[in-house]
Amino acid sequence: MGETKNIKPGPAQQAAFAEIESHRPYLMRFALAKLRDGAQAEEVVQEALLAALESIGSFAGQSSLRTWLTSILKFKIIDFQRRVVAERAQFACAPDEDAGADPDWMDRMYDATGHWSPRLAEWTDPDGALEQRQFFEVFERCMDKLPKSTARVFFKREVMGCETEEICKEEGITSSNCWVMLHRARLALRECLDRNWFQGARN
């Protein structure tokens, strides 16, 4: 995929390629949060990765490689959106697809009086977890389990660091709706990380 170079890459270039390539899943998520459409996201990520490969020499290492790749991707996304807008009107906001999921799962975390059931356990060495690649893989799998719109709102708010007003505008939802979605995402992710990582560390 995407082999457009006819020059034989040397070992250094191959290493750079592998390094850049390892960030593709993250960049796909980023692009999906912005574009919503899988094929479009793949296209811009591909363009961004090729651009990165061509200009890897200008990567000064002041930021992390991921941050640098993300900034390239942002430009590619803006480019892409301009092109799309020029071609046709933006597609209307998709309705919330959360409805299909189990609507009661949130209530089951509490007892009849609204208290945690079971009680929450403490997380052991969370900072240590931040140093482990496997932990981030668990985090990604947990995000994948969220309904799409919820995952997108969470990603924009917490990973991209957007303000809620900005997200509301992009998603076409009210701020209270936005808070509900963020809260759901946080509850579900907390639960998922607890079950798939911290519980194991407790036993």
Partner: protein
């Protein structure tokens, strides 16, 4: 303000803790949440874990554990 009807459940407290990550709470909400956190260990843990979730997401944006 400290009458039993005003006491928050964990469910409501959790909602406020989550919202606090995105927008400031009003004085009444802040006070009731403070009361509840003082009494509830699970909710103090929840708050710590919410803040950790934010750090995790930011770290994920920078490097993703690599």
């Amino acid at each position: 303000m400290s009458n039993a009807d005003c006491d928050l459940s964990c469910k409501e407290a959790a909602r406020l803790m989550s919202r606090r990550q995105d927008a400031p709470l009003n004085a009444d909400e802040t006070e009731r949440l403070k009361q509840h956190l003082y009494e509830c260990l699970s909710c103090r843990r929840f708050d710590t874990q919410l803040q950790f979730l934010r750090r995790l997401a930011r770290r994920y944006a920078e490097a993703g554990g690599s």
